[in-house]
């Protein structure tokens, strides 16, 4: 409860790190040129069988064929749609539940006493460990997957909220009290916004965890989705489809994270500036 606050430097690094200089951009680009070039050359020299490592040209043709005809007669966007539906429903549910529960846990120690140990218990478990149980309970369809992803996404957001409340500049709360704010107003007008920067970091982590879990769960038990497509392709040694699947996952992951960062910059416009 010291009047001086030491939280000043807190957020400064994260934003500065995202601004890439020109040389850095060139380096990033070159790295990809080298990777793709090496891929091309290795396949040109036929060092591996094309079933294991298809040439880039073949992957591109396969991609357009996939776009046109779909996989196993099901359009590519249906697979993608199935995956993202699971992902975003779960992430949305996690966001609207983990934020209030997490903030309350940080704010009211009794709530924390109820929720915290449960989260701490299941959080280190690999999600797939309890996925089998979820399948038994909720069936093999979307329901069990959404619950699985929800659980995977809940923990990082919840934990980010608790830590954010703990790190909140106490003088913000004291000055709000001295300005006449009630507990409830302090929660919504001070605690919630003050925690937003860290909450967003939590959401981005949650997205990463949920995305990995999504693909693995689709590989275990599904009949649609991008993860299922890759697994099915590997059963039939269609390595170009595996490649396409991996590229799509990688690129959509990067795009969604960029989208989240964009929203973050809009909502938490003060991040790194205080």
């Amino acid at each position: 409860m010291d009047l001086e606050n030491e939280d000043k430097v807190e957020n400064n690094n994260s934003e500065a790190g995202t601004e890439k200089s020109k040389t850095e951009k060139v380096l990033t680009l070159s790295t990809w040129v080298v990777i793709l070039g090496a891929w091309y050359i290795v396949t040109k020299l036929e060092l591996f069988s094309p079933t294991l490592l298809p040439p880039p040209t073949e992957v591109v043709t396969a991609f357009f064929k996939l776009l046109k005809d779909g996989y196993n007669g099901i359009a590519l966007w249906v697979h993608l749609g199935a995956s993202f539906r699971r992902l975003f429903i779960a992430l949305g549910l996690a966001i609207i539940t983990a934020i209030p529960i997490g903030l309350l846990s940080g704010y009211v120690s009794k709530v924390k006493a109820i929720v915290d140990s449960v989260v701490e218990f299941y959080r280190p478990l690999p999600p797939l460990a309890y996925y089998t149980l979820l399948i038994l309970w909720f069936g093999i369809d979307d329901k069990s997957k959404i619950i699985l992803l929800f659980l995977a996404a809940f923990a990082p957001i919840y934990i980010a909220c608790i830590s954010a409340v703990r790190k909140i500049n106490q003088d913000y709360i004291l000055s709000a009290k001295s300005l006449g704010a009630s507990q409830k107003k302090i929660f919504f007008k001070i605690v919630l916004p003050a925690c937003l920067p860290e909450i967003f970091t939590g959401i981005r982590t949650a997205f990463g965890v949920a995305y990995t879990t999504l693909v693995s769960s689709e590989m275990i038990a599904a009949t649609s989705g991008i993860g299922w497509m890759v697994l099915d392709a590997s059963n039939f040694l269609k390595s170009e489809v595996i490649f396409i699947g991996i590229f799509i996952m990688g690129i959509s992951g990067v795009l969604i994270d960029a989208g989240l960062r964009f929203i973050e910059r809009k909502i938490v416009f003060w991040k790194g500036k205080v």
Partner: protein
């Protein structure tokens, strides 16, 4: 001055932080009265318990022994009648300057047009009209403290508590701020409790200077002073130079006396 109503009163106030071996006796037997309209400056060595005293009056911490009263009633927690300006601004970065100033009145559910009127009036008073829509992180340190001041003034508190509010500002900005706070104090008939390290700052603002001892903080002496109007009133004219000399003599006499007290106990 002494016939004015007593707003804040501490009676035999002790504050001990912690318990047992590690406990720190921060304040010892503080008896202090703050009357309406006074500008009380507290001076004392670092770590002597000045902030502790302010936090007790603000209601942020509880006294270990003794009482802390506001208008005869025990202080039981923070309250908008006692506004606080911190050393580093605690403006909320997610709110614009305007919203920060409107925060207090809005928390008290005043009507919207009155809130707006108050906000405009006090931003004007701290010379920041036109900055209402800016984000707080776009402001300089001095401007931030002015917004913080406007935010507190907007609640029209009975007492304003300030903990080294200009401590982090450069010398020039500090001078401007001292002038500003003097004018605001005059204009609004405010009552101000002001902590500082700086003897000159205390002497140039205060109507009473309270000098505290090193830890455990006790009040060693209080000086009733009256330099502030002369210093800040632009129309002050001395009738002749002997009067000026007399005035300056008086100033340095008090200043040296305070410095002696502070230095002699280290």
């Amino acid at each position: 001055m002494s016939q004015e109503e007593v707003l804040i009163e501490t009676k035999n106030l002790d504050k001990i932080y912690g318990t047992g071996e590690d406990s720190v006796l921060a304040l010892k037997d503080i008896n202090l009265e703050i009357r309406r309209g006074e500008f009380v400056c507290v001076l004392g060595p670092s770590g002597c318990g000045k902030s502790t005293l302010l936090k007790t009056i603000a209601g942020y911490i509880e006294a270990t022994n003794g009482q802390c009263l506001m208008q005869g009633e025990e202080i039981e927690g923070p309250d908008w009648h006692r506004g606080v300006v911190f050393q580093s601004s605690t403006l909320y970065p997610w709110m614009s300057v305007k919203d920060n100033v409107e925060f207090g009145p809005r928390m008290r559910n005043l009507p919207e047009d009155e809130i707006k009127e108050i906000q405009e009036y006090f931003l004007e008073e701290v010379n920041l009209s036109g900055f209402g829509d800016k984000a707080t992180f776009e402001l300089s340190g001095g401007m931030k403290q002015r917004v913080a001041l406007a935010r507190v003034l907007a609640n029209n508190p009975q007492v304003i508590l300030m903990d080294e509010p200009f401590g982090a500002l450069d010398a020039l900005t500090r001078n401007d701020m001292q002038k500003l706070i003097h004018n605001i104090w005059k204009e609004n008939n405010s009552t101000i409790f002001f902590i500082t390290h700086d003897v000159d700052e205390a002497l140039s603002l205060a109507t009473r200077v309270v000098v505290m001892s090193k830890r455990p903080g006790r009040i060693i002496r209080e000086f009733n002073v009256d330099f502030t109007d002369t210093l800040f009133d632009e129309n002050t004219k001395f009738d002749d130079s002997s009067q000026r000399v007399e005035y300056e003599d008086e100033y340095f006499k008090v200043k040296n006396e305070i410095l002696d007290i502070i230095n002699n106990q280290v």
